[in-house]
């Protein structure tokens, strides 16, 4: 798989003022799943993304706690209504201290 932590964000190419924008984001991450030994979960610090944060122009608009039940290379999609053009920043935090960021600029046409 491509390098861990690469974030990709896709937004519509044509956004008008007042539109509801659907953002599609994908991060390359192994999202380690629970291992079991003799039917019991192995206790260890699993590597997975546990928090997703979205900021628009510095203001937090979304925060999500995620678990191991989400697949490898997780894909998140959400909508929001920007009132003015600006910078969208999505941050993924994983349990091993990794912090992965991606940005997308929203302009009105």
């Amino acid at each position: 798989m491509a390098e861990i932590g690469k974030v990709r964000i896709r937004i519509p190419s044509n956004i008008k003022r007042g539109d509801v924008v659907r953002v599609r984001s994908l991060v390359i991450h192994p999202m380690e799943i629970v291992q079991r030994r003799d039917g019991k979960p192995v206790d260890k610090n699993y590597l997975f993304i546990h928090k997703v944060m979205v900021e628009y122009n510095g203001r937090e608009i979304l925060q999500a706690d995620t678990t191991q039940s989400i697949s490898e290379n997780p894909f998140f999609s959400f909508t929001f209504k920007p009132t003015e053009p600006g910078m969208l920043r999505i941050t993924f935090l994983d349990t091993h201290g990794g912090k992965y960021e991606g940005t997308a600029e929203i302009k009105f046409t």
Binding site: M1, A2, R8, R10, R24, S25, L26, I28, N73, F75
Partner: protein, 441 residues
């Protein structure tokens, strides 16, 4: 353009004679005529081997994943696209109508039976349980109103070639898919189909009014097509040093973006060193072990992902396969002959489903599937992500799966036969933009 012309048999005979005549004197000039023998370099499930079970039953080794895993049949008895398979098409035959009283209810069940036909794959009849129906053959909703004699309908089902020599309808009785008494039941059922037809409740039931599939969005968007990520993952293989101490990156300077730009537009092409036409997939099976020492068997994950990585560098560029050389031309003609060759238990040719015309399948529904038109070009988005199987298929896996409705055992994924068929098909993509990986249901 797509007509089984005089080259159908002539090309092969000519090529064979020519090479036989020159075999002793001038080897180099006859290279590729006929194709050099090829030992499959595919993964074990992709080799198309037939194994005999302990109980004496033959069984073809197929891929372990769906949909291949669900096909238990062996079709060794029917002819294939293999060039060394000289068996003729099953001869046209007739049978007397069995003196059984036809049962329309049983006939209807047989008409819908997925294990045998199903007839509904091509023909529409009334009924909400007919799902999904196709429209390649005539709509039979009011077939009973034609008042045709029983004997005629029976023979039409038994072997339609008795009346229509070029029909696409399989000879159900001749190849033994339906027993004569089963056909009598179907005859009885067809005679009950009388008008007027009740109004259609669901427009999607009738293939003539059914909505055509719209696709799955941008195939090059990694958030939409998982195959893009798989292809990018091949970068690890690109820079991995093999047992020979070299990586792809050591010879192909500038990364795939620079060194592979436009390369894929020329494939499949005739490769002199191996005396055969090769696609990127085929070429990697020999090129990788010879240079880096790494194995890249046909249909292996490394092979497929690397193929996508290489092909992606030509996205947006027009396909331009070269069939000007004598060898490539001969391969193209053999591929064309395969396209029109009737094979398998169903006695079908590729052309039956992928050429537009009356009684032919292109741009019509086979059951719920909309069939592609070969003249529109079918290859430029391969390898492609299959949304229903969640896996990448290259052109060969697609062809191997096409063998199932033909009732034919699949050939090895990297066989010369499939490559030359792919060359013929790719010639219709010429001038059109590549877009790899594709995304399809």
């Amino acid at each position: 353009m797509l007509r089984p012309g005089t080259v159908f048999g002539g090309g092969i005979v000519f090529a064979a004679l020519l090479s036989a005549a020159c075999a002793q004197t001038d080897k180099a000039s006859t290279a590729g005529l006929p194709p050099a023998p090829w030992i499959s370099r595919a993964i074990p499930e992709g080799k198309g081997e037939v194994k005999t079970q302990p109980d004496g039953k033959k069984m073809q080794v197929r891929y372990k994943r769906a949909p291949f895993a669900g096909v238990p049949q062996d079709w060794s008895d029917y002819r294939t696209y293999a060039y060394d398979d000289t068996r003729p098409a099953p001869p046209v035959s007739k049978a007397p109508m069995t003196q059984v009283k036809g049962d329309p209810a049983r006939g209807r069940r047989l008409f819908l039976s997925r294990a045998q036909g199903p007839c509904t794959g091509c023909h529409l009849i009334p009924g909400a349980d007919v799902w999904p129906a196709g429209n390649i053959g005539p709509d039979l909703s009011t077939y009973g109103d034609r008042n045709l004699p029983d004997e005629f309908i029976f023979t039409q089902l038994y072997d339609s070639r008795n009346f229509f020599p070029n029909t696409t309808m399989p000879p159900w009785g001749t190849t033994g898919v339906f027993k004569p008494e089963e056909l009598v039941h179907i005859v009885a059922f067809l005679k009950t189909l009388k008008g007027p037809v009740p109004p259609e409740k669901d427009p999607d039931r009738n293939p003539d009014t059914r909505a055509k599939p719209v696709g799955f969005g941008d195939n090059l968007d990694p958030t939409n097509n998982p195959a893009v990520l798989l292809a990018e993952g091949a970068m690890a293989v690109w820079s991995k040093k093999g047992p020979a101490g070299k990586a792809c990156a050591d010879c192909h300077a500038g990364g795939p973006e620079k060194s592979m730009k436009g390369a894929a537009t020329r494939y499949p092409k005739y490769v002199k060193a191996y005396q055969r036409v090769m696609s990127i997939e085929d070429f990697l099976t020999v090129h990788a072990p010879e240079t880096t020492g790494l194995q890249m068997l046909s249909q292996s994950a490394d092979n497929l992902n690397m193929t996508m990585l290489v092909k992606m560098q030509s996205n947006g560029m027009p396909v331009g396969v070269d069939i000007s050389s004598r060898e490539a031309k001969a391969a193209y003609e053999r591929g064309r002959a395969s396209f029109f060759k009737k094979v398998g238990q169903r006695n079908h040719a590729c052309a039956d489903c992928h050429v537009k015309g009356a009684g032919q399948g292109a741009e019509k529904f086979l059951g719920g599937r909309l069939l592609g038109n070969a003249e529109a070009g079918l290859t430029r988005h391969f390898p492609t992500w299959r949304t229903n199987f969640q896996v990448v298929w290259d052109m060969r896996r697609r062809m191997q799966w096409c063998m199932t409705p033909l009732g034919m055992n699949m050939l090895p994924a990297d066989s010369v036969e499939y490559t030359e068929l792919e060359l013929f098909l790719t010639s219709f993509d010429s001038g059109k933009e590549m877009s790899v990986p594709g995304i399809r249901h």
